[in-house]
């Protein structure tokens, strides 16, 4: 029941690749259903934003699952596996849990602490829920991730940083324009932070928002959200004449806005000032643009340095958040291990019952002169022997399921002692057993004694 995250983000792949892997929201249910037909898939969830495309899955076999998910992406988007291998990262099991929590808490975002990713994760989860491609594992994982994100937001000041960055942008805009009513804003590209900044501007009186994006559908989606107009990406330089505030976050690896373009625009708009915010990394607006009169260009670092929280305390908050995530990953893994105990208990019961039945049958078949009462008595006796014998191990296992910490050892030892896996041990168990064999008996005895 391994958790796997396969995907790419602004950290691992350029926008060109990310865009190719994009799953538009309307196609998600269909994609999810298709993915479920692949071997080893038990549950799946697809998160597709402008900064990341990720598949969260619970699979019956990790290696197979990883391979099948990659194959699905390759099939779905008609891309060669070679291209994918380079761009995709894979987080199995505990790493996957950790990654999920980090994404939800916005520790993996371009701007630390921005809240939008959590909403996007929730939306993706809703779609998967409706499509019925998630169940116990992913439901628990995502719900936990959401609560971790909320914890990070309330217990650290990470989110304040992101919020104050966009309010810094608003403050600067006010220093340039005075009032923002009637100002035109253009969103060029669509990043989490760009949307956040746009929302802040809207909250401060801006009415007209234009959205230009390489994929026009996405632009339309966003424009609808802001009650604005979508324009084709090729046309944005012409529309620039009307723009007072430009928020740029295309994610392109080159300058989308050149000095020459801006000089021309300024002439056309008779030097009415433009405030440009470049949130992209790498930058999308040529820094030379700042030299044009009446243009004020700020990138994310400039904005960040305007925020009261200094760099040091911000990284401290991030550290705090990381610690929180680590802690939560631990709790989650304990829960998951607890889940492991249930099948072990079932396996153990089945195995012992199997032995009992076989041995009883063997004995009974060799003793022909027994009456029904005697047979029943023997059956009951064997059952009570088995139950008495199993009582202590089952209690320990149930405790292990509920408690945390060394439970994985308990379950592993139980499986080994009763030979439940027929030599097929999972690697993680082998490792722990080697380390723990010496001290384990003492510990189980301790637990046994506690039970009585």
């Amino acid at each position: 029941m391994g958790i796997i995250v396969v995907g790419l983000s602004h950290k691992s792949a350029p926008i060109e690749v990310r865009e190719k892997l994009n799953f538009p929201e309307s196609t998600l249910p269909d994609a999810l259903r298709k993915l479920m037909t692949y071997e080893s898939m038990r549950e799946c969830l697809i998160v597709s934003t402008c900064n990341r495309v990720e598949i969260y899955a619970s699979v019956s076999d990790s290696a197979m699952g990883i391979d099948r998910i990659k194959q699905f992406i390759s099939d779905y988007h008609n891309l060669s596996r070679n291209v994918l291998e380079q761009a995709l990262y894979v987080y199995p099991d505990a790493q996957g849990v950790r990654h999920t929590f980090r994404v939800a808490s916005s520790l993996d975002s371009m701007v630390l602490g921005e809240a939008q990713i959590l909403g996007q994760l929730k939306d993706a989860f809703d779609i998967a829920l409706k499509t019925k491609t998630t169940s116990t594992i992913l439901n628990k994982l995502i719900k936990k991730a959401i609560s971790v994100a909320k914890r990070v937001r309330t217990e650290t000041k990470l989110a304040e940083g992101a919020v104050s960055i966009s309010s810094a942008a608003v403050e600067l805009a006010k220093k340039i324009f005075g009032v923002l009513e009637g100002k035109n804003v253009m969103l060029l590209g669509a990043g989490e932070m760009a949307e956040l900044a746009a929302q802040h501007l809207l909250g401060n009186g801006v009415k007209n928002i234009m959205v230009a994006n390489r994929t026009f559908e996405r632009a339309e989606e966003l424009a609808k959200e802001f009650n604005g107009d979508a324009i084709r990406f090729e046309h944005f330089p012409d529309a620039l004449v009307m723009v007072d505030i430009l928020i740029c976050a295309t994610g392109a690896p080159y300058y989308v806005v050149s000095r020459e373009m801006v000089s021309r625009t300024l002439k056309e708009r008779r030097n009415k000032p433009i405030f440009m915010i470049d949130i992209s990394n790498p930058r999308n607006i040529d820094p030379e643009v700042d030299k044009v009169d009446n243009v004020y260009l700020y990138d994310i670092d400039d904005l960040q340095s305007k925020v009261d929280v200094n760099a040091e305390s911000r990284s401290k908050e991030a550290e705090k958040a990381e610690e929180l995530v680590t802690l939560e990953v631990e709790t989650y893994l304990q829960w998951e291990r607890g889940l492991d105990a249930v099948p072990t208990i079932v396996d153990l019961r089945e195995k012992v019952e199997d032995i009992r039945k076989r041995e009883l049958d063997k004995t009974l078949s060799s003793m022909n002169d027994l009456n029904e009462d005697q047979k029943r008595a023997m059956d009951i006796m064997s059952q009570s022997i088995v139950n008495k014998l199993l009582h202590a191990p089952l209690v320990v296992l149930k405790q292990a399921a509920a408690a945390a910490g060394e439970s994985d050892n308990t379950i592993a030892i139980a499986r080994r002692l009763f030979n439940l896996d027929r030599e097929l041990m999972r690697p993680v168990h082998e490792r722990t057993i080697d380390q723990q064999t010496k001290e384990e008996p003492a510990r189980s005895k301790e637990k046994e004694s506690k039970c009585r």
Partner: protein, 270 residues
């Protein structure tokens, strides 16, 4: 006795200037801005009293001679400032305006305030009209210049991405750009009226409208500079360049006021 009002006004302006400077550099001391405003208002009332006393004493509007002209200019600037403060609530304006007014007043403070006898040939209703228009035009240009300085300070900070304490006190670029433009559109017609009335007055006194007196020539240059400035604005010049030009224009006004009027022998020498 009436000089006491003048001194009181100057002291009040000085206190206000200190208050406003503290206000702009120390964001935590907000009250200093308000205190400075009341000091300015008190100073202005003293100033008006002084002006009225001097008027009644000399029997003519006291805008002749260097002392009176500067005095009137300072009063005009404070008047413009109070209106702007009332209308736009830009306390930071005081941080720039008041020190300049104080700098204007200090030399006057040291000069003789004696009332001089006026050449009888100039005694005419045009005296008050011509000088009022001219000095009010200058006051408007001074205001535009100060706003432009503020604009440049803010523009520099925005461009350098280094926002000092001042930054939080300054109004937006857009407001400053607009105000400076408004001041110019007000100042230029006043200045023009000053020139026209002056020339009518000259005709009634000397029988000639224009005599290429150094002050006249210099004023004509100043007038043309501001005309060009306004024209450039209408064809789309804005922001930094306009601010710089407006400051340059005012330098000509200052030169005219302090140098041309003093060193050249002409009709305007006072």
């Amino acid at each position: 006795m009436n000089l006491l009002f003048f001194q009181a006004a100057t002291v009040a302006y000085l206190l206000a200037a200190v208050g406003y400077v503290v206000y702009i550099f120390k964001p935590s001391h907000k009250w200093t801005g308000e205190a400075a405003f009341w000091a300015t208002l008190a100073g202005f009332l003293c100033h008006i009293c002084y002006f009225a006393f001097r008027w009644s004493e000399s029997g003519r509007i006291p805008i002749t001679g260097f002392f009176e002209a500067i005095n009137f200019l300072g009063m005009g600037m404070i008047f413009v400032f109070l209106i702007m403060e009332f209308r736009y609530k830009i306390a930071a304006l005081g941080s720039f305006m008041l020190p300049i007014v104080v700098i204007l007043m200090i030399p006057v403070f040291l000069l003789s305030g004696d009332i001089k006898e006026l050449n009888p040939i100039l005694k005419s209703g045009w005296l008050g009209i011509h000088t009022s228009f001219a000095v009010l035009g200058d006051a408007a240009f001074a205001f535009a210049c100060i706003i432009s300085v503020m604009y440049l300070v803010q523009e520099r900070q925005l461009k350098a991405k280094h926002l000092g304490a001042i930054f939080h006190r300054l109004p937006s670029l857009d407001i400053m750009d607009t105000l400076s433009y408004k001041a110019l559109t007000l100042g230029w017609p006043l200045f023009t009226l000053g020139m026209i009335t002056g020339s009518i007055w000259a005709n009634s006194a000397w029988g000639t409208y224009w005599s290429w007196d150094p002050k006249e020539t210099w004023s004509l240059i100043t007038w043309v500079i501001y005309l060009v400035l306004l024209h450039l604005r209408t064809i789309g010049w804005r922001g930094r360049k306009m601010a710089v030009l407006s400051i340059v224009g005012f330098l000509f006004v200052l030169l005219s006021f302090f140098v041309v009027s003093r060193v050249n022998i002409g009709k305007h020498t006072f």
